[in-house]
Symmetry: C2
Subunit: 300 residues, 2 copies
């Protein structure tokens, strides 16, 4: 079965023509959702993918990511957890393409991690369905890493951390990261993981203190400035993992969805907790998840 | 006794002519340490305070704040905790003014909150000595709030939190704060304090998750956007207080050094822990602390 996909995020547009789980053709541009006004999305899609629409007049069309947000093409309301392929395929939101043909936006997911609290995702639900994990814990480690608990093939609940964005804030805009120097000494990552242990359990000293303390170690000449950037990365990653494990328990293994460099950091940090990791490539999981939703949609 | 003071921080220069604890005259400018190059500090000081030097040829001259940092006039090495008036007055660092006259930079303090960890202050040590608190816990609540434990009239140890800077980062540079709208609804502060409770103890979910969740509550329309900014303030302040109380124990009362608006937030947050507060004005504490160091220096 052939189908057409737009993986349409905040900063990038990526189009794929797919047969089963093989990419036959692809396009990409910087026409992300944040670069567009209401009313422009259809034209962008037709310009980028119109030739596939003509060549494959029966192919289903799926759109995934921030294209379904309030700032996107059409707002696709969040589906609620628990949600699996059936719930997600049942909540697809149609958009008009041309000549009466429709595409379908994959809804994001909402969950209530505590009474009155909220968490959301858009796009990761599709990657997660493509991992093949039916029961277990998945970490999708992008700018806003998400820890996702699978039960019986459905997304039971999840928690998002702003780890990657926080690292960028500290490096680019904060006096905490200002003393950091190049070349970086990667040993800082483990020192940051050590520091994160001081924020565990009943005697937790607070992440906001540990961040200030990192800077203080450099300005008081207790830590070399080349260690600071990896130290901040380790501290934030360690605090994220501590929080995720206390929310979701301590499994014997975790599935990590991340590019190799970032995945290695999580594998290493989880090893310190005695937890094994299986790393999966996000792009492959995305295609597999899309194929699963297309099949479900065709069946449903 | 008359003395001359420069309270010289990162962004402001403030000069005072003081008799005992009364300010007789004052000047201020935006010639903070970050606006100056090495070698400019003496000229700025003489231009701002030179007439007092002439009028009071015997008056001691004290300089306090970031003027003693690596980027300041002369680096005044950090004194180590525990430190009281005697230790601080004994570690003053002289600078040449004119005609053989000297001023003295008050050193900052260093402490080791855990083996290998570090924390530093420059300026708050002087405020703290001006509170008159001999035994107890003080919170100096500026951009980087510091919690300071006093024992027998000396600063025993302290911990700094980047709370205020973090709030500014989230509001100005992060997608977490972007959905916040005006007018602000101050009820959000208490909701943020509630959320901070979810990061206490063995089941702490992690501050980086709670921050993302605040945004998710707004984009999923579970929370009004006018609540978000006070919510973030409450979450950060609550997490700071939780960390500080777990580091320093839970006293029956805390002395707060802060301007009225900010002090009110701390008083309220501490009340929820059953802790009373006594609020002191930072400016008055600074003058009292300087007078104490001058007297000690004259004696020593």
């Amino acid at each position: 079965m052939r189908f057409i996909v737009a993986d349409w995020g905040t900063t990038r547009f990526r189009g794929y023509l797919i047969e089963n789980e093989t990419v036959l053709d692809q396009v990409s541009s910087n026409e992300g959702v944040s670069a567009l006004q209401k009313g422009q999305h259809r034209d962008v899609f037709l310009r980028q993918c119109g030739r596939w629409l003509e060549a494959e007049p029966k192919a289903p069309v799926l759109l995934v990511g921030m294209v379904g947000s309030r700032e996107g093409w059409v707002e696709a309301p969040y589906a609620s957890c628990p949600a699996g392929p059936a719930e997600i395929a049942g909540a697809l939101v149609p958009v008009d393409l041309e000549n009466g043909r429709q595409g379908h936006i994959i809804p994001g997911l909402f969950c209530e991690p505590a009474p009155g609290a909220a968490d959301v995702m858009r796009g990761e639900e599709t990657l997660v369905l493509g991992t093949g994990v039916e029961d277990g814990l998945i970490c999708s480690a992008g700018t806003h890493p998400k820890w996702i608990l699978m039960r019986g093939g459905r997304i039971e609940r999840f928690a998002t951390y702003m780890t990657g964005e926080m690292y960028a804030l500290l490096r680019e805009h904060s006096m905490i990261g200002r003393p950091a120097s190049e070349p970086q000494d990667p040993k800082g990552f483990d020192l940051g993981l050590d520091a994160a242990e001081r924020n565990q359990g009943d005697n937790g000293v607070g992440l906001l203190h540990l961040l200030f303390s990192a800077r203080a170690s450099v300005v008081s000449r207790r830590m070399d400035s080349g260690l600071l950037a990896p130290y901040l990365s380790g501290l934030l990653t360690g605090d994220e993992i501590n929080g995720a494990l206390s929310q979701f328990g301590r499994p014997s293994s975790v599935t990590i969805l991340a590019e190799p460099g970032r995945a290695d950091l999580y594998v290493h940090a989880l090893e310190r907790h005695g937890i094994k990791s299986e790393v999966k490539v996000p792009q492959e999981a995305l295609i597999a998840g899309l194929a699963r939703i297309v099949r479900q949609h065709a069946v449903g």
